[in-house]
């Protein structure tokens, strides 16, 4: 996520979301989905895409797919 949005890793916290990351706009989100799908070899369905609005929600969705998120 830090790589996609070009911010320091330490700035990504449990509270990170589109509200507080400048580059998290529609373009940034599109890139994030692409990066996550390629990195973890997963895909997201419609419901998951709409839920992915914060670090916490993305982490929960990835963990639901059996992926451990640090």
């Amino acid at each position: 996520m830090a790589e996609t949005f070009k911010v320091p890793v330490e700035s990504i916290t449990e509270n990170s979301s589109a509200e507080n990351i400048e580059r998290w706009d529609s373009f940034g989100f599109l890139q994030l989905v692409t990066d996550l799908e390629e990195t973890y070899n997963v895909s997201f369905d419609e419901t998951e895409l709409l839920r992915m609005s914060s670090y916490q929600s993305i982490k929960a969705i990835l963990e639901g797919k059996g992926i451990e998120v640090r």
Partner: protein
């Protein structure tokens, strides 16, 4: 693109769901609920695929309507697309489906431009690498000062009209026509170098766009030289909204000598028909000298700047018409990335309608 599975072209079987989406996203009476209009603009425009849809979780959630056009691009013909209408469910905008729709609707390698979009869309176009910082000029001529005074929100006078400059051609040579014939093709070939980048105004296009419009009865005035050859034309829509009658100049192409007679003719027509205000939106500096001679004033003049551009209902939030373009190759960018070379009017997209 990751989202391709959610994007597709409109098909006839979509009409019912499409109309429901439009009513939900735009309002119950929006023009896209009229099948005649949709068919005319997006099904009978020479392309079978100029409406793109977002089909997300079994429901239509967004639309991109574009119009295929043939441009005069610095003396050569170039096919292009005008993005006339885009709307995406806000939730899906957040996840990037609006961006994906714009890219999906684009034919690779084709020049594309858009008009009348929101400021938010201006940012999206900019992020996609478009030139998006352009706004159309608006020139106005007030015919009924007492009535138009009531539209102002500032205490500044409406600028006095300039005395028109006479020239060689009389406005009496202007006539109203109801279709464009082949003489128009000859005229366009003779005049098109004056407009470096613009839609090719051949009769086929002009008839589709104005003469055969399914809903709007445009007034088309043509100016001829003494030998009968066409020297220019102007397309006007008369709008009666909110207690005002406005003459909108939608398209205007003319040889230099015929600019003023055509504008004077529109003014005289407006005066005879109780028009309060004439206005004209366009890009570049085309016809400005004649507009000023005919008594038009740019809308940055005191008194004119607060006259609304939308009258049905009166809406003071929209103050400009945004314009953006994307040139797909370095060669086109080198030649055409100069807003002053572009001549677009309200006739280019689908922003010319009173509803």
């Amino acid at each position: 693109m990751k989202y391709d599975k959610y994007l597709r072209h409109y098909e006839d079987k979509d009409w019912r769901a499409f109309k429901q989406m439009v009513q939900r996203m735009y309002g119950p009476r929006y023009i896209f609920t009229n099948k005649r209009f949709v068919d005319w603009q997006h099904r009978h425009n020479g392309s079978p695929s100029s409406l793109c849809l977002i089909d997300f979780a079994g429901e239509l959630k967004g639309v991109l309507g574009s119009i295929p056009l043939n441009l005069n691009f610095l003396g050569r013909d170039l096919s292009a697309w005008c993005y006339a209408n885009i709307r995406v469910d806000p939730e899906l905008r957040r996840v990037g489906l609006g961006v994906a729709l714009i890219e999906f609707g684009r034919t690779p390698g084709k020049l594309v431009y858009g008009m009348g979009h929101s400021d938010e869309m201006t940012s999206v176009y900019r992020n996609l690498g478009w030139r998006s910082d352009i706004r159309l000029n608006r020139y106005l001529k007030v015919l009924n000062t007492a009535n138009v005074e009531r539209l102002k929100t500032v205490d500044a006078p409406l600028t006095a009209e300039r005395k028109p400059v006479e020239n060689g051609f009389s406005q009496n040579s202007c006539t109203q026509v109801h279709a464009f014939d082949e003489d128009m093709d000859d005229f366009w070939l003779a005049v098109r170098d004056k407009y470096p980048i613009t839609i090719n105004r051949y009769s086929t296009y002009l008839n589709w766009r104005y003469a055969d419009h399914p809903m709007i009865p445009y007034k088309i005035f043509v100016h001829r030289a003494p030998d009968g050859s066409i020297q220019g034309y102007v397309v006007v829509r008369i709008e009666d909204s909110s207690g005002y009658r406005i003459a909108r100049i939608i398209d205007f192409v003319s040889s230099d000598d015929s600019e003023l007679p055509l504008l004077q003719h529109v003014t005289a027509y407006g005066e005879r028909n109780d028009v309060d205000l004439v206005d004209f939106f366009f890009s570049g500096d085309f016809h400005v000298s004649s507009l000023l001679s005919a008594g038009f004033v740019k809308n940055d003049a005191a008194g004119h700047e607060t006259i609304p551009m939308l009258f049905n209902p009166i809406d003071r939030t929209r103050k400009t018409v945004n314009f953006a373009y994307s040139l797909p190759t370095e060669e086109l960018r080198l030649q055409g990335d100069a807003p002053y070379k572009w001549y677009v009017t309200k006739g280019d997209g689908d922003i010319d309608r009173p509803y």
